[in-house]
């Protein structure tokens, strides 16, 4: 233990509220004139309680706490289903260009023709890669895209007087799928997976009738597998008068090799923050454009961009559109970054990226398969799914492996998802990891597997020991939630 509590480069850093020097500010602003106001007597008389700090203190604070984060810049981050790939800095540069970063969403359309051309170019790339005729760009994230897609489907059914109540969702689906369907007013009917980790087509058929609005299927699915009967499933749902919503979270595995439009997809959101590498930023912002089939395109929400002789126009109201799901036009900052990423790769590079992502995942599977237990046979797509059978009777759990990986210098893989696999470990190396990096990860995983099997459970239960914090007490956090800082009670009040 050091006198300061710091440990070398790892600094203990108090909250900003605990560093308050009343009256200080890190921003020098002109002196207001003072005098009467036009606030209608609603000016605030009490302080808010914000801390006062000078700029150097603020910069140091956020620098210090940043150093307590793992990041893709610093190492391999194989979080399955999250796609933590390299975030090119060119994209950060172009998004801040004057003339892009400083555009107001409600400027006259003739002053933003370049922005609209950019949006239209992005749309062209997405439609071409998906083989689909339209794209709704406004959704702010993947789950928001799901909502947009299901609202489009409900609007299309209602437009033909065919109200439907049910959405079929595989049990392996991400939680957002059933949550979205419920938010959109549908009953959720789960479909089991077969023993090959894919949609159980017989069970699906048995549930298919005139009340089904949509099949909501992730492809490649959450087990990292391509749904090999996807075309049959699409045909079946179409024949029953429903639509095929594809969760495109894993589109990054097949870009340039498979077009969702060729699979019978009617609507699919694309997570620009995954497939096209807009940074995750510690949890957003994301962006979830939804590609649409010709049948659904007329119901897409406002606003959208059209191009005619007079140039680009924004359609901001349209009676056929199902409505609006946010203010303004969409996550423009993400559009800029994603287009920069796509143009940098080109059509050829995007295909190569998908192939390398799949290659890296299969390589991990091949090199770990003898010591750990792949959940399903056969090649995987961009992520490798293990279950915890190999850890049986070792006293070591999936969570323990994850925590031990932290001490090895890696971010853990996704654990306990998908729910259909016991003790799931979902590993997604992505195409931006070198072979040397993947080999080091494999070596660490093999060493951990051997150590678990050698009976050294205690080691795992103690880990991590080298991270800024060891295991945190999530139970007490949930039992007695402390969700904000509050000033300590003044001594006089405490004595009362």
């Amino acid at each position: 233990m050091t006198t300061t509590g710091h440990r070398g480069l790892d600094h203990e850093e108090p909250l900003i509220f605990e560093q308050d020097s009343p009256g200080l500010s890190g921003v020098d602003l002109p002196l207001p004139k003072g005098g009467p106001d036009r606030l209608g007597g609603l000016g605030r008389s009490r302080p808010l309680g914000l801390p006062g700090m000078a700029e150097p203190q603020v910069v140091r604070h956020f620098t210090r706490i940043s150093q307590r984060n793992y990041a893709i810049d610093a190492g391999m981050y194989p979080l399955g289903s999250c796609t933590m790939k390299h975030n090119p800095r060119l994209n950060e540069k172009v998004v801040r260009l004057p003339g892009l970063g400083d555009l107001h969403p409600l400027q006259p359309v003739r002053t933003v023709q370049g922005a609209l051309r950019l949006v239209d170019t992005l749309a062209h790339w997405l439609k071409t890669l998906c083989g689909m005729p339209a794209v709704a760009l406004s959704p702010a994230a993947g789950a928001h895209g799901e909502l947009c897609g299901l609202m489009t489907i409900r609007a299309a059914h209602e437009a033909r007087g065919d109200a439907r109540r049910k959405v079929l969702v595989p049990e392996s689906a991400h939680g957002t799928n059933p949550a979205t369907a419920a938010l959109c007013g549908y009953d959720v009917d789960p479909i089991p997976a077969n023993d090959r980790g894919r949609l159980d087509l017989a069970a699906f058929k048995a549930k298919l009738d005139g009340s089904v609005a949509a099949l909501m299927l992730t492809n490649p699915n959450t087990c990292g597998l391509f749904e090999d009967q996807v075309i049959e499933a699409a045909d079946l749902v179409h024949r029953a008068g429903g639509y095929f919503y594809c969760d495109g979270a894993n589109f990054n595995a097949i870009v340039g090799r498979v077009r969702p439009g060729d699979l019978g997809v009617d609507a699919m959101h694309i997570n620009l923050h995954k497939t096209f590498s807009t940074p995750h930023g510690g949890g957003g912002p994301g962006s979830g454009p939804v590609v649409l089939s010709a049948a659904l395109a007329p119901y897409a929400p406002v606003p959208y961009v059209v191009h005619d002789k007079g140039g680009f126009r924004l359609i901001e109201s349209d009676p056929k559109a199902f409505g609006r799901i946010r203010a303004f036009h969409g996550q423009m900052g993400m559009f800029v970054r994603a287009l920069s990423y796509m143009m940098s790769h080109g059509g050829d590079g995007l295909r190569q990226a998908a192939e390398d992502a799949v290659l890296n995942a299969n390589y991990v599977m091949a090199r770990l398969g003898d010591l750990l237990s792949p959940a399903f046979l056969g090649p995987c797509m961009h992520e490798c799914l293990l279950d915890d059978h190999a850890l049986k009777d070792t006293g070591v759990t999936t969570l323990d492996i994850a925590k031990a990986l932290i001490d090895e210098g890696f971010h853990p893989m996704t654990v306990y998802f998908p729910l259909v696999v016991h003790g799931a470990m979902l590993i997604e190396p992505t195409e931006t990891e070198s072979k040397a990096s993947v080999d080091q990860f494999i070596a660490a995983m093999r060493a951990l597997a051997l150590r678990a099997k050698s009976g050294d459970a205690e080691f795992f239960h103690e880990s991590p020991t080298l991270a800024p914090r060891r295991r945190l007490d999530e139970t007490s956090a949930a039992r007695h939630p402390v969700l904000r800082w509050r000033p300590p009670a003044p001594p006089a009040a405490a004595a009362e």
């Binding site: 706490i65 702010a140 059509g347």
Partner: protein, 448 residues
């Protein structure tokens, strides 16, 4: 291809280790009819030089608010963002990390979120705030849904002073989530009587503060009536800087406060990504959507942070979750946190006061222009002015004078002819007296 580290030699040895001949063998599960062998019909890869050139060309075809006097507001505001904000959010540890699911290696993001939640609770005058929503509009729709859960009723009364995009967003969510909305007509003078619309089925009353047309009203009397009817008061703030000067919504009796946080730390960026702030009372926290960071200790008793109360969320509750939301606006929330921390108590109040003084100067000067009537009796940094002709045409003429002169209300209310002559004009700390003078002169010319 600069982003792909595998060499041809690597690929060959990896395929051999897997035991397949080519990468095609890894795609065998794709139905044959859907496999695409040829090129995808898009341009080939490009270096930084070419890509940057292409984006500069996009940028040149626009007139940025940094290149012309700009008075645009209506839910998105241009403010000065201190240089250190952008430098800090571009640190790779913040920019290139994921949602803090593994708390031991995510304490930086978690501590920043805890600070963010506290700041949002402080400026809204509420007990507790979440880790952010997509934007103000979708956050407002989520607030209406939350009020339905809390009150077990399904009818929201929506003010005519609420931003039209927010009104449309609530109405859209309502149509598909099967609840009712009662949209009061647009209300430029802020004289509507919302209490008359409340009944025993009302779940929430949604008002904006300051209103879309810039007016500021004391919400305490309305709050009392809303609460007497067993409903919740949702207060929406689209210009967060206003909270530097105004009474907090919490002080006036708000049950849920939703705000668009773009105005602090975040660039205009043509409308997104933005930042939804969401705050409420302690007693409603389990009905709140979105992520929450909470304090705890590690096994050695050291203070730390985790994501908590996750059982509200979709990954556990699935179709019974409080919302389908799965992400927040993490990096925008961080930018907001850094900017507000830099400002501090004194700086935030001063920034807000400067905005208000700029708008007072604007209102006074535009009021002197022949044919222009200022509608507002109260305002923060944005006013509605009535013009003798359609505002959209005037704004277009102002562009010819090199000025981004405001937002015509008809842009957001295209089918309300009575509002066609209204122009929303905002001034912030970045607008100089000279710019205001230029606007007034150009406006006089356009109207003459």
């Amino acid at each position: 291809m600069r982003y792909l580290p595998l060499t041809e030699t690597d690929r060959k040895s990896m395929l051999a280790a897997i035991g397949v001949r080519s990468v095609d063998d890894l795609f065998v599960d794709v139905p044959a009819t859907a496999r695409r062998a040829g090129p995808v019909g898009l341009p080939s890869f490009q270096g930084e030089i070419e890509v940057e050139r292409a984006f500069q060309a996009f940028a040149r075809e626009n007139l940025g608010t940094g290149s012309a006097p700009s008075f645009l507001g209506a839910g998105a505001y241009r403010h000065h963002v201190p240089a250190s904000v952008d430098a800090l959010i571009q640190r790779g540890e913040f920019l290139t990390s994921y949602t803090p699911y593994q708390p031991e290696v995510s304490q930086g993001t978690l501590q920043a979120l805890f600070e963010f939640q506290t700041l949002v609770a402080m400026i809204t005058g509420m007990d507790v705030a979440n880790a952010s929503m997509y934007d103000g509009a979708s956050g407002t729709a989520e607030a209406a849904l939350m009020a339905n859960r809390v009150t077990r009723r399904k009818r929201a009364v929506v003010s005519g002073g609420l931003h039209p995009h927010y009104r449309e967003t609530i109405a859209t969510y309502a149509r598909y989530s099967d609840f009712q909305v009662d949209l009061a007509p647009p209300d430029p003078t802020a004289t509507e009587d919302l209490a008359a619309r409340i009944d025993a089925t009302t779940s929430a009353v949604v008002v904006q503060y300051p209103g879309f047309f810039g007016q500021i009203r004391d919400l305490a009397p309305l709050a009392a009536k809303v609460h007497a009817a067993g409903a919740l008061l949702i207060v929406v703030v689209t210009e967060v800087v206003a909270l530097g000067l105004l009474k907090t919504p919490g002080e006036m009796g708000a049950d849920i406060v939703v705000a668009e946080g773009q105005g602090l730390g975040n660039q205009l960026g043509f409308g997104g990504p933005y930042l939804g702030l969401f705050a409420t009372r302690d007693s409603f926290v389990r009905q709140m959507p979105g992520r929450l960071a909470g304090a705890t200790v590690d096994v050695e008793g050291r203070r730390g942070w985790v994501l908590t109360l996750a059982t509200r969320e979709q990954h556990i509750r699935r179709e019974k979750a409080t919302s389908n939301i799965c992400t927040n606006s993490g990096l925008c929330a961080l930018a907001f946190t850094i900017h507000l921390t830099l400002l501090g108590e004194a700086g935030f109040a001063r920034l807000a006061r400067l905005n208000h003084e700029a708008a007072m100067a604007l209102a006074e000067r535009l009021g002197q222009v022949a044919g222009v009537t200022v509608v507002n009796d109260t305002f923060f940094n944005e006013i509605a002015v009535r013009l003798p002709k359609p505002a959209a045409a005037v704004v277009d003429d102002l562009v010819d004078a090199g000025i981004l002169g405001g937002v015509p209300v008809s842009r957001l209310y295209p089918s309300e002819p009575a509002l066609a002559d209204l122009l929303l004009v905002a001034a912030t700390e970045v607008n100089t007296p000279d710019e205001i003078e230029r606007l007034a002169k150009a406006l006089a010319e356009v109207l003459s």
